[in-house]
């Protein structure tokens, strides 16, 4: 009985020391959710301007060299039902009742763009064990490097928006996701989806500019006439990039009946792609998320326990000291038995 009590005592003491250490260092190290970098690039998608033409879906396929995906019997058109390893951008449709009014929640219909939001503090980047998924420190664009990727699909599991997807049908399958057409930037081209959008529903630009534009629209009265830019908004300066000169494509149109909510302004600690909608965001497939990233919690735990390898080395030292007392070298053991 005595030895059992001693055993439990030791176990409890040990656990208490480790626990106390973890809590104490945790209070110091807990990391905040990262913020969008000042030069962060992104998109503004305004569902009230979207006409559902899906030119952006086709342009995205072409820009990224992705094959069509068939989901109809005749197999004539590219018809992805969700983003996939081969479809990085799709337009989803909301339908309700008679579908009479655009952007109405009841008896209406609406569109919603689904593509990577380029989080300020992306889970996929935190999760990736081999730095195949990284966030550019200047532009904030989250890019994927297939030459490093081991295909573990932790990024697929981690993303709260379900964005990185894997190509399960290919023995050499890759992860597929929007990279804001970063491969076209050197030729002065920005995101293909924004470049082809006929109504300016998808705009490319600096996230801070896009946020100002979104706020401007939300401040207007529904039905009022205002000007809408198309394509690229503002300078959107990026290192070593000279954007192609385009003619002014600004046009005048009526202000939509917005939800007073800029999706991505606070969600998950902020995203570089922002969205406006006439229908509540949850109804059009955008998840309700806290204003912080799970990556912050995950990394806080990780670095509390393993930061600088302080805890592991301390515990190893203690264990080695105890083990040395309890384990006898070979020779002694032979003599005793």
């Amino acid at each position: 009985m005595k030895s059992r009590r001693e055993f439990l005592k030791r176990a409890v003491t040990g656990a208490a020391i480790v626990g106390a250490g973890a809590t104490a260092s945790g209070a110091v190290l807990a990391r905040e959710t990262h913020k969008v970098p000042p030069g962060g690039l992104g998109l503004l998608y305004d569902a009230t301007l979207c006409v559902g033409c899906k030119a952006c879906v086709a342009a995205c396929k072409e820009a990224n060299g992705n094959p069509p995906e068939f989901n109809t019997v005749d197999q004539l058109w590219d018809t992805p039902l969700d983003t996939s390893g081969y479809s990085f951008n799709i337009i989803k449709m909301y339908r309700n009742g008679t579908m009479e009014t655009k952007d109405a929640e009841k008896n209406g219909y609406a569109f919603m763009k689904t593509s990577c939001l380029h989080c300020a503090d992306p889970s996929c980047v935190s999760a990736c064990p081999v730095s195949a998924m990284i966030k550019n420190p200047v532009t904030g664009i989250v890019t994927y490097n297939p030459d490093k990727c081991i295909g573990c699909r932790y990024c697929v599991a981690a993303c709260p928006f379900g964005i990185p997807k894997y190509q399960y049908d290919d023995p050499l399958g890759r992860i597929g996701k929007c990279e804001l057409c970063v491969h076209r930037h050197k030729d002065g081209h920005y995101s293909a989806c924004a470049e082809v959008c006929p109504t300016g529903a998808t705009l490319f630009g600096k996230t801070s500019d896009l946020l100002a534009e979104a706020r401007r629209r939300l401040a207007l009265k529904p039905g009022e006439i205002t000007t809408y830019p198309r394509g690229r908004l503002g300078d959107a300066a990026a290192p070593n990039v000279n954007w192609r000169v385009e003619p002014d494509q600004t046009y005048e149109g009526a202000v939509g009946n917005y939800q007073q909510h800029i999706y991505g302004e606070t969600e998950y600690g902020g995203t570089q792609v922002l969205k406006l909608s006439g229908v509540p965001f949850e109804k059009v497939g955008m998840p309700k998320l806290p204003p912080y990233s799970s990556a912050a919690m995950s990394e806080t735990i990780q670095h509390t326990l393993y930061g600088g390898l302080i805890m592991p080395v301390a515990v190893l030292g203690a264990l080695a000291w105890i083990a040395k007392r309890n384990v006898k070298p070979e020779a002694e053991e032979e003599n005793e038995s």
């Binding site: 064990p129 030459d147 490093k148 990233s293 070979e330």
Partner: protein
């Protein structure tokens, strides 16, 4: 260590080819055939994996549960060498052997599941390392632990091969190896739970908690003891050996003590986060939660009393119940309680199941071959 007189380990002997190894061999051959298809036609050709469930049973069962079931060596070694319970020494080698196989195969199972396995060297390439990634920590730790376990187990091979000098030299630094062999599993078994923290609200609140590393660590140690109970009973029955009841009865009591701690931590966390209410809804998650908890609570009905713990059949059942509970915790968090919200479904395909079965079959063959030919199990006294 108290001076104890244990029977020295000795090979069990007997034929290597029998009904069990033959059956296991066929299962391994089936697995090999399926894996050929997987490597030529992609993961989708043999699995039901999809973007809503990018991890299936190859990860959750073969790796998460497989490595937890392989915690016997760690749990018993910790008891013997750290808590100085020398009387359990005869259990160390067989437990370590099972761990060695469990972990080596968990490592192999990861490769099979990796979509771009030829890039796996990046995991050990300093310019690719991401210390923020929980999986990076898990991978490095498990790799090191497999190495450490082979060193820990090396004396068995040295004995068989008559390499006494090598054995003696190794025994001088064995305490460091043992310390590492205790630390590394503590690190990665807890981190296997931390893996789902970054999944955020996609994991049901009954499982998504910042204390998940502690839950995984406790259950890994508990499962370690449960596996020893299970395995000792199976080895005794299969090899017609006497059961080490004088060791298993008190070991079961140690296990129950830890189970009580685990249950207290689990419920304290649920109450503290205000998530316990979700356990009383009519949802699949709630039902699965109670199945999981029923195992940890129910084991007290099976081996709660000293009299019950003297019954080998009860220890065997108690071991299985705890293994099931630990397995359910992992399945519930990673599969049942995981939802990306895209309406995705996942149920493993037959070929997926057969690969998992094949992985466990390799373990059975390996255990039989090594215990029959190498000094692992304590030498049986000549029986009447």
């Amino acid at each position: 260590m108290r001076i104890l007189h244990h029977a020295k380990p000795a090979p069990v002997g007997g034929p290597l080819l029998n009904a069990v190894t033959l059956t296991a061999g066929i299962l391994v051959a089936i697995m090999a055939a399926i894996l050929v298809v997987r490597f030529f036609y992609g993961l989708g050709s043999v699995t039901n994996l999809n973007d809503g469930y990018p991890w299936g049973i190859w990860i959750v069962v073969d790796v998460m549960i497989g490595s937890a079931f392989a915690c016997g060596g760690f749990s018993v070694a910790m008891l013997v060498y750290i808590f100085n319970k020398g009387e359990y020494h005869p259990l160390v080698r067989p437990a370590l052997l099972a761990s060695l196989f469990g972990y080596t195969l968990a490592g192999a199972a990861v490769i099979v599941d990796l979509g771009r396995w030829w890039n796996v060297w990046n995991m050990y390439w300093p310019w690719s390392a991401n210390p923020n990634s929980v999986m990076f920590e898990v991978a490095i730790c498990i790799t090191l632990y497999i190495l450490v376990m082979w060193i820990e187990f090396a004396p068995t091979f040295f004995e068989k091969l008559g390499m006494n000098a090598a054995k003696r030299r190794l025994s001088k630094i064995m305490f460091i190896i043992i310390a590492l062999g205790t630390l590394l599993p503590m690190m990665h078994q807890s981190s296997l739970g931390t893996l789902w923290v970054v999944l955020g609200s996609q994991v049901h609140p009954l499982w998504q908690t910042p204390v998940v590393p502690l839950l995984f660590l406790l259950t890994a140690i508990i499962i370690g003891y449960a596996v020893v109970l299970f395995e000792s009973c199976v080895a005794s029955a299969a090899y017609r050996r006497s059961i080490e009841m004088h060791l298993l009865t008190p070991l079961a009591k140690v296990m129950l003590g830890l189970v009580a701690v685990y249950i207290a931590v689990r419920f304290a966390d649920l109450i503290w986060r205000g998530a316990l209410g979700l356990a009383f809804g009519m949802t699949l998650e709630a039902v699965m939660f109670w199945f999981e908890m029923a195992c940890f609570i129910g084991v007290f009905l099976v081996i709660g009393s000293e009299v019950q713990r003297r019954n080998p059949a009860r220890l065997f059942v108690g071991g299985i119940i705890i293994m099931l509970g630990g397995a359910l915790l992992r399945i519930n968090g990673f599969l049942i309680g995981y939802d990306t919200g895209g309406g995705y479904q996942y149920f493993p395909s037959l070929t997926e199941v057969l690969v998992t079965v094949g992985m466990f079959a390799i373990e059975v063959i390996g255990y039989i071959v090594i215990t029959r030919r190498f000094p692992v199990l304590p030498r049986e006294e000549a029986h009447a």
